[in-house]
């Protein structure tokens, strides 16, 4: 038996083995837990993270450049390809921005349809987030449940506009399609179906000891840091800032509905999880109110066939499932936008990764990437 009691020897052994090495490890871009093609370079001391650097751009398609070479209408479907799990939200933001520039307003019926579809999309986005996030941390079951239930939302999208993911559901000035026969029943049926399901997800995770240990206190970010880093969406709210663009600067028909802004206190991964779970319930509330009173009337405002917005600039932003999604559009009076700038929530939120994982363990990096809920299509555009 070797003598383990000599502290001196142990100390020296530790020194040769730990002290000398800061380890640089590459994670991604092809890595199942980075949710796409994100590459993170990690500087480690043993298992402790000393610093990170994100390398992005693998999915860069030059969306902003494409916009300058398309008409306002032609660019509309492109925005769906940014945050492809919440395509409806992207479309809403873009359409509303151009509408503002053109000085038209979508009719109330169109706004209600928009709200219903956007909130359904928020649910779908959160469900996908929950499934993959839980999978990353080691819980496989939620993935099957959330994907099964998300399917019902995609079916509604498919029946409404023929597409499941990149929906191109809205047009500048309103909606292209009238709701199909049985749309309201379908949505109501879905609400009834999904309400107990959300409790079911929570049952699987909220009190699960492994889940709690893996998420509580992990990836902390304070409210002040969130504001400084421009972090928005559920991440900001989990740090205790009660701020949601749907309430702060209401758009579409959101001012008509009664809903709450769920917030957290600790700003850790667990709180972000709780905030998103509650947001799903709030979305259901909004849909329930909206679907009961969709007003009659036209679904399309009077918009010229050839759109030539007057010279000027506009910034319009909406609360996408990931945070503030903004469009800054410059018009030179021609049929094509002079410049379209997309302010993507995922891109800005990802900046906070470094701060959130510093001093934590490698395994927590996975948890934090999951909890930030990034979509690389939007980060890279």
């Amino acid at each position: 038996m070797t003598d383990r009691s000599s502290p001196l020897e142990l100390e020296q052994a530790d020194k040769t083995f730990l002290d000398s090495n800061e380890l640089i490890i590459n994670m991604g871009p092809q890595h199942p837990a980075t949710h796409g093609v994100l590459r993170v370079i990690l500087k480690l001391d043993g298992e402790k993270v000393l610093g990170t650097e994100c390398v992005i751009g693998y999915l860069h398609r030059g969306v902003e450049k494409i916009a300058e070479n398309r008409t306002y209408t032609m660019f509309n479907p492109y925005v769906d390809r940014m945050d492809y799990v919440a395509a409806v939200s992207n479309g809403l933001g873009y359409c509303e921005a151009v509408e503002k520039l053109l000085n038209v307003e979508a009719p109330p019926r169109a706004n209600y349809i928009r709200v219903i579809l956007t909130e359904l999309n928020r649910l779908a986005s959160h469900m996908l987030w929950l499934g993959t996030h839980a999978l990353d941390i080691g819980a496989i079951t939620p993935l099957f449940y959330t994907f099964r239930d998300r399917e019902e939302i995609l079916k509604i999208f498919e029946k409404y506009c023929g597409a499941r993911l990149t929906t191109h559901a809205f047009r500048i000035g309103g909606c292209q399609y009238e709701t199909y026969d049985g749309f309201e029943e379908d949505v109501k049926k879905f609400l009834k179906f999904v309400t107990p399901k959300i409790d079911e997800y929570e049952e699987l995770l909220t009190t699960n000891r492994i889940w709690v240990e893996r998420t509580r206190g992990v990836g902390f970010i304070s409210a002040a840091d969130c504001k400084g880093l421009g972090v928005t969406g559920p991440v900001l709210r989990a740090s205790g800032v009660k701020w949601d663009l749907r309430k702060a600067q209401p758009y579409a028909a959101y001012s008509d509905f009664d809903f709450e802004i769920p917030t957290g206190e600790n700003g850790d991964t667990f709180d972000r999880y709780m905030v998103r779970m509650q947001e799903m319930r709030q979305s259901l509330r909004i849909i329930e109110q909206a679907v009961g009173k969709i007003p009659d009337g036209p679904i399309m405002a009077k918009v010229p066939k050839v759109m030539k917005p007057p010279v000027g600039e506009i910034y319009h932003s909406i609360e996408a499932p990931k945070g503030e999604l903004g469009y800054f559009i410059v018009s030179d009076g021609s049929t094509q936008p002079y410049r379209v700038r997309v302010r993507p929530p995922s891109f800005v939120n990802l900046q906070a990764l470094d701060q959130m994982v510093r001093g934590q363990l490698v395994a927590d990096v996975i948890a934090v990437i999951g909890t930030l809920d990034i979509v690389l299509g939007e980060v890279d555009r």
Binding site: H60, L229, G230, E313, E324, G326, R381
Partner: protein
Amino acid sequence: MVATLKRQYGSGIREASTYLGQNYMVADPSLIPEFLQVLRDQEQFDYCVDVTAVHYPQREKQFDVIWILYSYARNERIRVKTMIADGEIVPSSVAIWPAANWLEREVYDMFGIRFEGHPDLKRILLPEGWKGHPLRKDYGIIQQDNEWVQINLGIESGQ
């Protein structure tokens, strides 16, 4: 707010007005970054939503650099715009809002505008070593850095 700022900076603020209900100001480049600092500290614009640029090749001062700011306390947005010539350097606002870090890198990547005082100004979306800045108006829609593509991807063209 505009009145106090105008008194403070005089003709440095060339224009302050509203279009479609959105406020914007055109400031002289020499006022950046003190002006931004004042907006954050005195006027509570604590959230830098976006930093971006627009290229006008026919103008003498070719670029508009734009900061979109938001104040949580006032629930208000403002856009600050400044005009610079090609090659002119803009002071970085990373020290004021850490959020500007990646946003300024993107502006540099896409327009070639350099920010002085930025901690790590390098390309962000395009690979290191890429030639050209795609969002400039003289960069074609199907243009690419052929040399880079051939060396790094081993193919004739990315198109």
